[in-house]
Amino acid sequence: MMSESDTQTLRQEVRTWLQDNVPSGWRDAMTGVDQESFVQLQREWFGKLSKAGYATPHWPEGWPGGGRSLAEQKVIYEEVARADAPRLIMYFVALYHAACTLMECGTEAQKEKYLPGILNGEIWCQGFSEPNAGSDLASLKTRAERRGDKYIINGQKTWSTMAQYADRCLLLARTDSSGPPQAGQTYLLLDMKSPGVTVVPINQITGDDEFAEIFFDNVEVPVEDLVGEEGQGWAVAQATLASERGLTLVELSQRMRYALPMLAETLKERGLLEDTALRRDLGKVIARVDACCALADQYLLKRISGEEKVGDASMVKLCYAQTLREYTKLGRRISGLQGQFDPDFMRGATQETGNWTLDFMNSYNWSIAGGSNEIQRNIISERVLGMPREPKTWKL
């Protein structure tokens, strides 16, 4: 574990760098703009972060910026949140899921072929979710049929972040339907420029379109882009799905905390600073946000010390989703009628935009995606509290 003074030094270093480098006024610049502008911001911000060595703190020693401990990564995430810097959502899959998958399960050839590209800003997307599958990842239907030295892909993926800009895709496809749902899945690296790939952005209820559907029509993937064994895709995916877990929740919770002044701002703008009821609610939310931050921090400390238990992450995610809901709902209430106007959305700000109606709706991303609140409650009750599992079969 790094010493207190090392942490302080790194913290100061990152903080200073962020003060000098976070694009000023990026929030206003991202409000109501088209997606190209947002992509441009992401590219530039990735370039800066990457050059400074703060984009890949989780990569192994030897890689530029790599070799940081989890404690150091935590410091970087916290400072990024405090500085209200843009989230690197367009590069997230590449830097975390793709890189970790390659490093843990990739062949040497695959590593050589793909890792430098990621470092240079290649964009990856995730091809896991499918329509009508929701949190039930095991039920996926997209097929990968082996023909000679190629897999032929047919099917559809959905809710893939920024897939419309992705160079490559982490694909889970079914090579065998005979066994239990988790079996028979295969993990492939797919070139998004391959013939037969069609990407259709999903128009979201907020007006944003950061997600997309991907359609595969006889798309060819060379067998050398198979990761792990054929049929072992589930295990490969599970190994890296959680690679950023904890860090993201620490960052998101901290972002909530640092956005609290926006709630106060709305209260002031609407002339409601004397409203005792709203002030009490603000006090409640401040304390709840602190509790959520504490739970996320504690979780990461457990990961660092190797004490993490199954279900711990579910509690952090559920707590975050619920706190965020309550938080943005208070903002919505404070905003009053005024908050129902001006549906300009802001790109890439996660939820704390100060447009509380937008932020409130965005809060559903966290209670639904990445395992809904309901799935987390199942996990917590069964794995943490030891209550009986949902029955495998039942008779009505």
């Binding site: 979710s129 009508n132 599958a133 929701g134 949190s135 039930d136 039920s139 959905t158 809710w159 999903i202 128009n203 979201q204 209820i205 007006g207 919505r332 009053g336 009628l337 129902q340 106007f341 001006d342 549906p343 300009d344 109606t357 937008l358 709706m361 559903y364 991303n365 209670s367 639904i368 995606a369 809904s372 609140n373 309901e374 409650r377 949902e390 039942w394």
Partner: protein, 347 residues
Amino acid sequence: MSELNEYLNELKASARQVMDGEGTAAEEATLWPLTVELGWLLTAVPEELDGLGLGVHGVSMLHTELGRGLAQVPFLAATLAVDALVQSDIDTKAELISRFTTGDAVTAPLADVSTVTLTDTLNGKLSVVPSADTASDVLVCVDDCVVLVKLHQAGVELSARGTWDTTRRLFDVTFSNVVLANQVVLARGDAAVAMIARLQSLRDFALAADCVGAAAGLLDITIEHLNTREQFGRPLALFQALKHRCADMKTLIDAAEALLADSLSRITDEQLAEIDSQLLAKKAKLVACSMFADVSEEALQLHGGIGMASEHPCHLFLKRSMLNEHLGSGNGNYELDIADHFLAQLA
């Protein structure tokens, strides 16, 4: 009473049929002409003025159906303006009513956030006015005066306001030295105060009905989704945690609906301006709007990812529920009004 009920049931059935045919969130361009053609604007107009004479009951019932289908029509605004005409004593009343129920559109604000002042001229801003661009006149209530103002004249400016709720097209209407003498004054003094009170009750009941209808429609869609969508090899509707949440939603909806029906059954059209009626309307509006907000929030979560896509109507309900909370004088004020009236009665 039972004859009225029969009429109402007929109207309800036909409205349901129309709305089912048009589908969820039918567009203003199609649905508004149909609304006019079907004579729905005549619902509350007395028979002696060639209306159906179904009063606030009829209007509320229609609003339930329009809410259920998230109809994108400025029906409430027009109804309020027409009702003001009906209550007025002006000479041109019959003519205007006929015009606004069959041809030209008239509108009125849906929230109490006007900054309009009145001396010999009108000045200031009227907000939350639906479809003002396609209407010829707007109803303006200022203190103790109710007046119908032409929208297409010097000194009147329209400005469209973007809203999250896309089932309504709202405008700010700004008046600069609009000469009162050139407008149609519908009431002044005590008569105007009573008329404004009446219009508020009518509006609050209509909003309550809108919420009740919309929430019931949304619950149907949600149950349908849960019955159809499978996860882990079984329909979502089998999961008890989700079933229980649906049961809570249903109970909330039915209680709000019962309150609305009960409140309406306690008053006649002629009593709408009375303080007791206003309170009944406020309670109905408060309960229904809070319920609709709760139901919409739950429905979005129960829909999961598909609810987050704009192609699915789920979010339209949520956005309408959020706006509805702030219409009238806003839920927070209703809560206070109800408590303060209660405390005053005890004192």
